[in-house]
């Protein structure tokens, strides 16, 4: 009963948050001076054309009225029509979503690997030159945002040592037998590892750019947690049983040190997803973020709204998952 109430409360606050987001973005983009329709049509368009399209998209009504219409549509699953593409916003958005999800998840995995290795190595080499070196590297990686790392990677691996692609999701000349837009996932399912390799070589640099700051955060926090845990009595007891340093770090300390890192990673993951907007642009990666920037430049109001709402939904969903994961993993919460 306690759990049910907690879940209900959580859903209610989430709904309020999403509503707040919807209202804010709705109002903000309608403050723009000028008629978006007029900007879209060629110069020779008549006033009648402009008026007709304005009515069609509902821009002649008052803002609250427009919002109600739009909200009503959303609750039915209709996010309106994109002004630039003349297609349903929902289709466009869901079409691009898999690309951004794959990129985000790949970046998350890379960040966990890099950060985990940094933390474990730093703990193993603690209070020595090794740890100091890792601290310096971490500090720098933390201070520099994903945008700059992306540019550096473009320079290093796109130009200097062209090992990876710096543009697009996949080499354009390739024929893709995919049914969904989950290119990475499907290429594995279909055992097309040639395609998989091509896709990875396109995703590697943007994912790495997104991963580096998060890896530094993970590395720092996990190392600190591990070092604190290493002083605890049960770790010392494990040593008396005959276990060596590596085992003690991995088997005894890690599972306790990892919990606080997990919640932080969850929050930071939403920042990472937010970072896909500019990274996708930088690498011409055909994902949600890239489409969003075009939508803003082209004043495609319905599309902008749809994308912003989707991002908000993703963020709140990630937060929810992290809280659930924490509750499941913490044995004290599970039984206590």
């Amino acid at each position: 009963m306690q759990l049910f109430r907690a879940v209900l409360l959580r859903l209610a606050t989430t709904a309020v948050t999403l509503l707040g987001v919807a209202i804010i973005v709705f109002v903000v983009i309608r403050v723009v001076p000028g008629n978006p329709i007029a900007m879209m049509l060629p110069p020779g368009a008549t006033d009648a054309d402009v008026a007709r399209l304005t009515a069609q998209y509902g821009f002649d009504k008052s803002i609250p009225h427009q919002f109600l219409i739009w909200a009503g549509g959303v609750l039915r699953g209709d996010f309106g029509l994109s002004i630039t593409a003349r297609q349903p916003v929902l289709d466009l958005v869901l079409g691009r979503l898999p690309a951004t999800l794959e990129l985000s998840v790949m970046a998350l995995v890379m960040a966990c690997l890099l950060g985990g290795v940094a933390a474990l190595t730093g703990t193993r080499a603690r209070e020595g030159a090794g740890e100091a070196a890792i601290d310096v590297a971490n500090g720098m990686a933390l201070s520099i945002p994903d945008f700059l790392w992306g540019l550096i990677l473009v320079l290093l691996f796109g130009v200097l040592w062209p090992l990876f692609h710096i543009s697009g999701r996949v080499t354009p000349s390739l024929e893709l037998p995919f049914v969904t837009n989950f290119y990475l996932f499907e290429s594995v399912l279909r055992l097309r590892f040639d395609l998989w390799a091509d896709i990875v070589s396109h995703m590697f640099l943007p994912a790495l750019a997104l991963a580096i700051p998060l890896a530094a955060i993970i590395g720092q926090l996990l190392k600190q947690s591990l070092k604190e845990t290493m002083h605890l009595d049960y770790v010392t007891l494990a040593r008396t049983k005959g276990y060596g340093e590596n085992h003690v770090i991995l088997r005894e300390a890690l599972r306790n040190a990892i919990l606080p890192t997990l919640t932080l990673v969850g929050v930071q993951f939403t920042f990472l997803i937010g970072g896909t907007v500019i990274i996708e642009r930088l690498f011409s990666y055909e994902g949600l973020g890239n489409m969003a920037i075009d939508a803003v430049i082209n004043r495609d109001l319905p599309l902008i709204q749809g994308i912003v709402i989707l991002f908000a939904v993703i963020f709140t969903a990630v937060n929810l998952c992290v809280d659930l994961l924490y509750a499941v993993l913490n044995p004290r919460l599970r039984h206590g």
Partner: protein, 290 residues
């Protein structure tokens, strides 16, 4: 023949060089229970840690030898040393609330040594764990084995730690103030349990404590420490009949007598402390010049 032989052990803080153990020698024969007594900071815990190879990172051994069943621990490689210690020794830790890994169930915390270090198969190790829990009078051992530490009381956890120490049939167990962190009501039971297990398994026991009362009940021989130096080394009977050293006498006199609660407490006299500190300083001077 002593299972544990410590000869002239010296330990100090790394870098600073502040001495923590000054030329400590003691021995524990097979099946013998030796008490290590002294006030806080006397170094009794440090000796136990040195034997088990778990000295703090800031402390180093600067002289002397530790012989375990004849083998000089310092001459072994790190790996050989810890495997030997893991196979033949065990620790009963002080605080049951922090000595168990909160994220692991009880069963693997007892069986891991048997499976990983001694190479037993899992079933045999589990059955041994069950038997051990029965030995320490824990009802419903299967439920306890599946439980997490936070689900059990402090007293229960200390029993588990005691049982776990005897799991690999060690030749030597270091008990590091095992009753200090417990409620007074539980202390007596736990002490009895340790004595019982020791008698049944015939394990040698190095019992670190500041409580002379405990020593009188459990130990065969005892070593008195002050400032990291051995002050007296004798058998329990003669000690309680009349200790040889002034400091030991004062320590004995300072022990509260539960039979006479109205008697005032006698602290160790200043003169005695100064005298024993002088002995420590003299020992240091011998080390510096010799």
């Amino acid at each position: 023949m002593s299972f544990l032989q410590v000869n002239g052990l010296k330990a100090r803080l790394k870098g600073v060089g502040h001495p923590l153990l000054r030329d400590v020698s003691l021995s524990v024969a097979a099946g013998e229970v030796r008490g290590l007594v002294g006030e806080s900071g006397a170094g009794k815990s440090m000796i136990g840690k040195a034997v088990l190879g778990i000295l703090p990172r800031a402390v180093e051994i600067s002289g002397g030898e530790i012989l375990l069943d004849g083998a000089d621990l310092q001459r072994l490689s790190a790996r050989e040393r810890r495997v030997r210690i893991g196979a033949s020794c065990a620790l009963i830790p002080q605080d049951p609330l922090t000595a168990l890994n909160p994220s692991r169930r009880i069963a693997p915390q007892i069986t891991d040594r048997l499976v990983d270090i001694l190479g037993w198969n899992r079933a045999r190790a589990l059955s041994r764990a069950r038997d051990l829990l029965a030995e320490v009078h824990i009802p419903d051992p299967d439920r306890v084995l599946r439980a997490y530490p936070h689900e059990l009381s402090g007293g229960m956890r200390q029993r588990i730690l005691i049982a776990s120490a005897f799991a690999a049939e060690p030749k030597l167990i270091v008990a590091d103030e095992p009753t200090t962190a417990l409620d007074v009501t539980v202390q007596k039971q736990v002490l009895k349990l340790i004595a019982e297990m020791q008698a049944r398994h015939g394990t040698a026991l190095l019992f670190v404590t500041h409580d002379l009362g405990v020593v009188s009940k459990v130990c065969d021989r005892l070593t008195v420490l002050y400032g990291g130096m051995v002050v007296e080394d004798t058998d329990v009977r003669s000690f309680f009949a009349g200790p040889a050293h002034a400091y030991s006498r004062a320590l004995l006199a300072a022990t509260p007598k539960y039979t006479d609660p109205d008697a005032s407490l006698t602290p160790v006299p200043e003169a005695v402390i100064r005298a024993v500190q002088a002995e420590v300083a003299a020992a240091d001077r011998r080390v510096a010049h010799g």
